[in-house]
Amino acid sequence: MHPAYSVIFFTVSSGIGYGLLAVIGVFIAAGWLPMTPELGVVGLGFGFVTVVAGLLSSTFHLGHPERAWRALTQWRSSWLSREGVAAIFTFAPLTLFAYGWIYLGGETETLAAAALLTALGAFVTVFCTGMIYRTLKTIHQWHNAWTLPNYLMMGLAGGAIWLAAIVAALGSDASGVAWLAAAALALAWAGKGAYWHLIDTTTHPATPESATGLGRYGRLSKFEGPHTSANYLMKEMGFQVARNHAGKLRRYAHIIGFGAPLALAVAGAMSGGNASAFLLVPAALAVTLGLAIERWLFFAEANHVVTLYYGAKSA
C-alpha cells in the first residue's frame, strides 16, 4: 500500500498525543503526578498540539478536505467515522481537565473524572484507528490479530515516554512514568516482533486462481495487462519502493524505535533527579523516529489482494 506522508504523520503524532493524554489522565486521577501548573500547561499542551497537528494532517490526503465534517456522520458502520467522533469527543473532557488543572488548580473529584474521561476518549480514538486497518479483509498484513494491539501499545509507549521526558525536563520525579514507558516499549516491541513474524510466514488465503476462478484448469500467470501504464490501483495498492528495503528499515525500527529508547527509559527511571531528562528526552525523540519508520513499513509491507489480478502470486 502506498504510504501517504500525511497519514503516517497523523498516526504517529496523534498516536503519541492520545497516548500521552491517556497516561497523564490516569496518573493525575490516581494522584501519581504533581499537579503543578507547569506540567498542566506543557503536558496537556503537548498532547493537545500533537493530536491537533495529526488530525489536521489527516485531512491533507483527502480529495475534499472542506467536506471532512461529513466523516462524523456514519459512526454506525464505519470505523473511520467512529475515529473522527471519538477524536472530537475527547476534546470536551480534555477542555474541562485543562481548565480545572491550570486555572482552578484544585484536586477535585470532577477534575479526576475529567482526567479519566480524557484517558478513555484517547484510548477509544486509538482503538478506532487500529480497527480501521484491522477490519480491512483485503489486506492480510492489516487484517490480523496483532494490528490493534500494536496500535494501542505503540500509542501507550510513545505517550508514556514523552510524558516521562516532559516531567523530567520540568524537574519532577519521572521514575513512575519512565517505568511505565519502559514496560510499554518492551510489550510493544514484542508485539511488533510477533506481527513481523506473522506476516513473514503467512499470506492471504486468496490466490490468482481464486481471484479469477480459473484455478480449476491449472496454474495462472499474467499474459497481458489491461493497460499500458500504471493506473490508480497499481500506484495505490501495488507500492514497491520500501518493500525492497524492508529488512534494513526493520532493523532501524528495532534499534531506534524500541531497543535504544528501552535502555534509555530504564536508565532514566533508575537514575531519577535532573539527570534523567538527559536520558528520557533522547528516548522520546528516538521513539518518535522509530514509530515513523514502523508506520512507513506498516503501509509499504501491506499487500492488497487486487494485486493478484496484476500478476502477484500471493498477497
Partner: protein, 243 residues
C-alpha cells in the same frame, strides 16, 4: 447511509462469459465513452496523449495464461472486470460520510460525489479493484451499472442495458436480475455453473462469471514429407552426409 440494506428487491448485475470473450476491449471503450458523459462524469484522463497516460476506467480487461494441470491443454483467457455490486459491499460500510451506498431497489452500489471526501478507504476495502480515484475531481469513481441507461425511457427498450453489454460484439456480457430465478441471466448461471470471484472473501458479489469450456487440442497433423532435392550434386552430398 452506509449500512447495507436488509433486503434487496432486485439484484441487477452482469454475467460475463469467459468462454467467448475475445479480449477486444470494446466493453471498456464504450463504457468510457458513455460514462464520461454519464451519472459519474467525467472519467478524467491525465496526460492522455503523453508518455504516462493515467485515467479513470470502470472496466478493465485482463488476460491470463493458464498452464494446464496433468497434461491438459494450456489456454489463454481474457478476463473483463468491473464492479461486482456485492451483497456484502465493504466499500459501502467503511465509508465515513455516507457517500457510498447500495440501493435497496436493485442492489446497485453508487457513490454520491457531492458527499465524497476522497479518503480512498472504499478502494482499499474492495478486493476487486472496482473503484478508481479521480485525482482531478478529488472523489472516488466506480461503475454505475449504467443507471442512466437501464432506466432511461428516452432510449429504445433494446438499449436499456449497460454500455458494456450493448457493445460486446461476441455476446459475452449479459445483464439482468439475478434475484429472479426465471431470468435469462439466472438460467445462464444455473446451466453453465456461473461462479463468484474470490468467494473466500465473503463479499457475495452479484456479478457472475461463466467458466471457459475445457479446450480440446487439435489432432496432430501427419509429418510433412521432405522436399525432393533437385540438384544431383546436392542430392549426392545429402546422401553421403546422411550416412
Amino acid at each position: 447511509m452506509t449500512t447495507l440494506p436488509d433486503t434487496i428487491k432486485k439484484k441487477l448485475g452482469l454475467v460475463i462469459d469467459l468462454d467467448i470473450c475475445v479480449g477486444c476491449h470494446a466493453c471498456a471503450v464504450n463504457c468510457k465513452e458513455w460514462n464520461t458523459g454519464g451519472h459519474m462524469a467525467p472519467l478524467t484522463d491525465l496526460d492522455p496523449y503523453g508518455a504516462n497516460p493515467d485515467g479513470v476506467w470502470f472496466n478493465r480487461i485482463h488476460a491470463y495464461e493458464v498452464e494446464a494441470a496433468d497434461g491438459g491443454v494450456n489456454m489463454t483467457t481474457y478476463f473483463p472486470k468491473s464492479c461486482l455490486h456485492c451483497e456484502q459491499a465493504a466499500c459501502v460500510t467503511v465509508c465515513p460520510t455516507g457517500a457510498s451506498y447500495k440501493r435497496c431497489e436493485d442492489g446497485i452500489v453508487l457513490v454520491d460525489e457531492d458527499k465524497c471526501i476522497g479518503c480512498k478507504l472504499c478502494s482499499w476495502a474492495c478486493p476487486y479493484g472496482a473503484r478508481e480515484f479521480d485525482s482531478d475531481a478529488g472523489v472516488m469513481k466506480k461503475c454505475t451499472l449504467c443507471i442512466d441507461r437501464i432506466y432511461n425511457e428516452n432510449l429504445e427498450a433494446v438499449d436499456r442495458v449497460p454500455a458494456c453489454v450493448s457493445t460486446c460484439p461476441a455476446g459475452a456480457r449479459h445483464f439482468g436480475d439475478l434475484n429472479d430465478r426465471n431470468s435469462d441471466v439466472a438460467r445462464l448461471v444455473a446451466e453453465r455453473g456461473g461462479y463468484d470471484l474470490m468467494p473466500e472473501m465473503g463479499y457475495r458479489p452479484t456479478n457472475k462469471y461463466l467458466p471457459p469450456r475445457p479446450r480440446t487440442e487439435a489432432p496432430k497433423s501427419p509429418p510433412m514429407p521432405e522436399p525432393a532435392i533437385e540438384n544431383p550434386i546436392l542430392r549426392w552430398a545429402d546422401r553421403f552426409l546422411s550416412r
